[in-house]
Structures are given as structure tokens and as C-alpha cells.
């Protein structure tokens, strides 16, 4: 019965390429079988992977920046170099925060 209802719903759905999907009638059926759940898990896994990758990269970059900041070098270019290291460090922080926000968002939304 469930299967038949779903098939009915799909039969009325237009192809995605045509345009925005119309509001489909709520058939009041259990949709836990729908592929959308698997897709969400895959999206979450993807986001989780890039977040982990971002964390690793940021950690590695920060250690390189800290060591580079200790370089014994004077002059206007050296001052600019150190200021730029600090600027990059701040941006790495922002990159890390954003990736965590992505992960948080994907987990919260997927749970709805």
C-alpha cells in the first residue's frame, strides 16, 4: 500500500530539469524508506571528512607559521612577513570555525 502511494506521488512529480518542484500533496505515508535519508548521511559524511581535513591542515599550517615567525630576519619585508603570518593565522582560525559550523549545521539538519 505504501509503495503504491509513493509510486503515485512520483508519477505526478515533474522532472527536476523542468523547473521548481510543485507542492506535492502530503499523502500522510511513512517516508522512512526514502533515499533522502541515505543522501543526508552521505552529505554528513562528506562534511565530516572535509572538516577533519580542515582541522588537520589548519594544525599543520599553524605549526609552520609559528616556526616561520621565529626566523631571525630584519627589515621592512621581514616586518610585513610577520604581519602577514599573523593575518594568515587569523584566517586559518576563520576557516576552521566555518568548517565546524558546516558540520554542526549538517548534523542538526539531518536530524530533523
Amino acid at each position: 500500500m505504501t509503495s503504491t502511494s509513493s509510486q503515485t506521488a512520483f508519477a505526478f512529480a515533474p522532472p527536476a530539469a523542468i523547473g521548481a518542484l510543485p507542492q506535492l500533496p502530503d499523502m500522510g505515508v511513512d517516508a522512512s524508506w526514502c533515499r533522502c535519508h541515505a543522501v543526508v548521511r552521505q552529505c554528513q559524511s562528506t562534511v565530516s571528512r572535509v572538516t577533519a581535513d580542515t582541522d588537520d591542515t589548519v594544525q599543520e599550517c599553524r605549526s609552520v607559521l609559528v616556526r616561520a615567525g621565529l626566523l631571525d630576519w630584519q627589515g621592512a619585508a621581514a616586518e610585513c612577513f610577520r604581519a602577514e603570518l599573523a593575518g594568515i593565522d587569523a584566517l586559518l582560525g576563520a576557516l576552521e570555525m566555518s568548517s565546524r559550523e558546516m558540520l554542526r549545521m549538517s548534523l542538526i539538519q539531518g536530524a530533523r
Binding site: 512529480a13 533522502c36 552529505c43 562534511v47 616561520a68 619585508a77 602577514e84 593575518g87
Partner: protein, 482 residues
């Protein structure tokens, strides 16, 4: 707009450890840039994957629209996720680029002390010199062909003939060609190393041979009578020069006046006077003692011939009239011929003056026997012929620092990239012969920006000479007549 990248030659201070550290950090930053680039690619891949996944459920309204599910479908705002992924990809890419620029800046600072480049230049010089000795016609023809190709490239690029391209295309061979040609003029053995100690002063020997006829022609055209007169003011008046940069600025400004030498007196707290004598380059005026013929005399290998040159006599007379005493410290600052005069006076053992420091810009003085007690700070630009007319590299010693500039396109106007080279003030879009003071100053600026310890040491030495306050600036004009 053009820029100049400096390299520092001499018995330089910076230790191998510092250079190795720079190299190591530059490598690490490069790897960081690659890592961040890879992260940007990861975000790009994630983006594609999320887009593909979202398209794989086109008929699931809640998923596609990201709306709250009422009937058990999963809700997921993948549009927002894709937007965030795009932003992250851009950020990672921008960070990779900034790390890459920083790595480039460290490599640039490391290259300030490129021994390998110096050794390669010496080898090329020897090879071209040898080629000139064995096959003078073939080598000259090859050099001319290269210059012609450079000129043709210039025509294609700028739509007109521009000699700067011809000069730039043969810059690597200038010293060798001059030395080889000089060997012919000086009638020296082709391979002096086989007959004794190798020599690098062929150009000065050749100049020595040409000095007599050049001097004769000069006296014929200009006369032999030198008139030096103090002129009241120089507009604008030269300010105090307490650093090499200030001194180069004054030299640049003085070049606008006609055949004028500036002598500035400084007086320190201990009651001692010190002096800075600023000498411009070759002047285009027919009656100027800083004429073309004097260049040949000053380049001679005979120091007596140097002192016969009207330009050297002009500067000595100005120094004498200004009241410089034998014990006073003197710094000479010269552009082109002015620098050769400075080196000639410093090399003159019998000179009455205590010349503590000379600063030369675009002057071929490698073979002038300046004593080690006199500090020499030389600026030379690779792409122009004048500073290569000595056919040799300046001697590498602690008190003789050579800053070689290479002309590049203009540096970035902001960020760390702006220190990869120093901008040449007043340069336009067209390429030009980089002999002007604006290029020499940019070379010094580049070395300063990159924190050359040796440049700082030379700057400090010059500053100590002129540590007192400026008391007076005297200007002397020289004229030749029959």
C-alpha cells in the same frame, strides 16, 4: 612601471645557518601552500558530491527544498551547505596564495645572497672572454645577433626601436664582451693565465691606451683650462644626508644642475668636521669638465692619468676651496662618472684627504685599487652596460659591498608581494636603460627592504661619518675653456 630586485655581493655577513633557515622555512611555506591548495580541491570535490547527491533525490520535496519534514522525509538545506563549501574553497585558495607569496618573499630574501649566481656570472664572464680571444668575429657576431633579437622583441612589444631591449638581452655577456674586446685593444696575450697571474683589468689597460687620444680630443674640443666657481645656491638646496638613502637622494637631485659638485660640511659634538662630496655623472654640456673624454682617462690603469682628467681636478679643486682639511673624514658619493672619480680619488695614495667611504651608483670601478680602509658601497644594474665597462666583478671584501639590481616588472602595490622588488620611481610603461639614479636607488631600497645586514652595516658606517649636524652646503660649478 618597473621594479628592481637586488642581490648583494661581497664578503657578506649573513651566516650559512641563517640562509639555511630561510630556505627551510620557504620550503615549509611552499608545502603549506600546496596543502591549502589541496584543501581547496577537497572542498571543490565535496561541493560536486553534495550537488550530485542532492540531484539524486529530485522528487523528495523536503530534501530538495530544505523545508521541515512533516511526513518522515529528511530535511536538508543543501543550498546553504553548497554556499558554505564554495566560501571555504575560496578561503583555502586565497590562503594558499598568500602562503605562496610569503614563501616567494623568503626565497627572494635568500637570493639576496646568492653565491651560486655570483659564481655562475664569473664562469660566464670567463667563457665569453675566452670565446672573444679565440673567435673574436664569431663572438661579436653572436652578441650582435642576440642584441638584434632583443631589439626585435622590443619592436614587437612596444612598436618602436628601444635599445634597452638590445642591452637587456645581452646583459649576461656584457662584462665578458668588454673584457674580451679590451684584450684586443690592449694587445694583451689571449690567455694571460698561461703566462702568469690571471688579470681582470683588461678594460682599464685598454682605457689606458685610449686615454691619450681621448684626452687630446677632449682638450681640442673643450680646451684645457678648468674654471671652478662657487655658485650661491642650488635649487632646491640639498638637505642633510645622514644615510645612504639620503645621499642617493641628493645625488639624484644634484644631477639636474649643470656640472655642479656639492660639498656639505657636518660638525659633530666632539668638534670634528666631516664632509660629503656629491658628484654627478657625465654631463651633456660641451664645456663641462664631466665630459665623455674624461671617462676614458678615469678608466685608465694609470692613476696619474686619473688625476689629469679635468673632472677629477674639478672635484679636487672644489674640495680644496670648500676647506676640507687632511684629517677630516670625507665621504664621496657619485653617479656613473662621479663614482669613477670617487674611486680614483680614494685609490690615489698621494691624495691629501682622508676618504673614509665612497658610494657609487652605476660606476665601473672593479679595478680601481681602493684601499681596504675605505668603505665602498656600489650599486650596479645588470641590464645596463655602463657598470660592466670594467669587464670584471667588484672585489669581494667586507668593506666593499656591491648591490646588483635586476630590472623586473613592477612589484605588487600591497601585501608581502610588494617587497619582491622595489618600485622604480618615475618609470613609465616603456622599458628604458636602467642607468638612471631612480634605478640605482631602487636597488638600494630593495636591499634595505629585505634586511641585508651588510647594507645596514654600510649604512651605519656612512651615518657615523656624518653624525654631526649639517653646517653648510657649498656648490661648485666647473667649466672648460681654451
Amino acid at each position: 612601471m618597473w621594479g628592481v630586485m637586488a642581490s648583494v655581493y661581497g664578503d657578506v655577513h649573513r651566516s650559512r645557518v641563517d640562509l639555511d633557515a630561510m630556505e627551510r622555512h620557504a620550503g615549509a611555506l611552499n608545502r603549506t601552500a600546496l596543502r591549502l591548495g589541496a584543501l581547496a580541491d577537497t572542498y571543490a570535490a565535496a561541493l560536486i558530491q553534495i550537488e550530485a547527491l542532492s540531484r539524486s533525490v529530485p522528487f523528495c520535496r523536503d530534501f530538495s527544498m530544505g523545508t521541515h519534514s512533516l511526513n518522515g522525509h529528511s530535511s536538508f538545506d543543501h543550498h546553504h551547505l553548497i554556499h558554505m563549501c564554495t566560501a571555504q574553497q575560496r578561503s583555502a585558495k586565497a590562503l594558499a596564495s598568500r602562503c605562496s607569496v610569503l614563501a616567494g618573499l623568503l626565497w627572494r630574501a635568500r637570493a639576496l645572497y646568492s653565491d651560486a649566481e655570483s659564481s655562475t656570472m664569473a664562469l660566464i664572464n670567463r667563457a665569453v672572454r675566452g670565446s672573444m680571444a679565440l673567435m673574436p668575429v664569431g663572438t661579436a657576431a653572436g652578441a650582435l645577433s642576440l642584441a638584434a633579437m632583443g631589439a626585435a622583441y622590443g619592436v614587437a612589444k612596444e612598436g618602436r626601436f628601444n635599445i634597452a631591449y638590445a642591452s637587456g638581452s645581452t646583459a649576461w655577456a656584457h662584462e665578458g664582451l668588454v673584457a674580451g674586446l679590451s684584450q684586443r685593444i690592449a694587445v694583451m696575450p689571449a690567455f694571460p693565465i698561461l703566462q702568469g697571474a690571471p688579470r681582470d683589468d683588461e678594460a682599464n689597460q685598454a682605457a689606458g691606451r685610449l686615454a691619450s687620444p681621448a684626452g687630446f680630443i677632449g682638450r681640442l674640443v673643450q680646451g684645457s683650462s678648468l674654471h671652478v666657481s662657487r655658485i650661491q645656491s642650488q635649487a632646491p638646496a640639498l638637505p642633510a644626508a645622514h644615510s645612504i638613502d639620503d645621499a642617493l637622494h641628493n645625488l639624484d637631485a644634484l644631477g639636474l644642475a649643470k656640472s655642479t659638485v656639492a660639498v656639505q660640511r657636518y660638525h659633530d659634538d666632539a668638534g670634528a668636521d666631516s664632509w660629503v662630496v656629491t658628484i654627478p655623472g657625465t654631463q651633456p654640456y660641451a664645456d663641462s669638465p664631466l665630459g665623455w673624454a674624461q671617462n676614458v682617462e678615469l678608466m685608465s690603469d694609470d692613476s696619474d692619468v686619473h688625476m689629469r682628467a679635468a673632472s677629477a681636478r674639478f672635484v679636487l679643486e672644489a674640495m680644496s676651496e670648500a676647506g676640507i682639511r687632511p684629517g677630516d673624514q670625507v665621504a664621496l658619493v657619485g653617479h656613473s662618472q662621479g663614482g669613477i672619480i670617487a674611486a680614483s680619488l680614494a685609490a690615489q695614495s698621494g691624495t691629501a684627504y682622508r676618504i673614509s667611504h665612497i658610494i657609487t651608483a652605476g660606476s665601473p670601478i672593479a679595478n680601481h685599487p681602493v684601499p681596504a680602509s675605505t668603505w665602498v658601497t656600489s650599486m650596479e644594474i645588470d641590464d645596463e652596460l655602463v657598470s660592466s665597462l670594467d669587464g670584471a666583478s667588484n672585489p669581494p671584501r667586507r668593506s666593499w659591498l656591491t648591490i646588483r639590481g635586476t630590472v623586473t616588472s613592477a612589484p605588487a602595490s600591497n601585501g608581502a608581494g610588494r617587497y619582491l622588488s622595489a618600485p622604480v620611481s618615475g618609470s613609465g610603461s616603456a622599458r628604458e636603460l636602467p642607468h638612471g639614479m631612480n634605478y640605482q636607488r631602487a636597488a638600494w631600497q630593495s636591499a634595505q627592504d629585505l634586511g641585508s645586514a651588510d647594507a645596514q652595516e654600510h649604512d651605519a658606517h656612512f651615518s657615523r661619518i656624518v653624525s654631526g649636524g649639517l653646517q653648510e652646503s657649498l656648490y661648485y660649478e666647473g667649466r672648460m675653456s681654451t
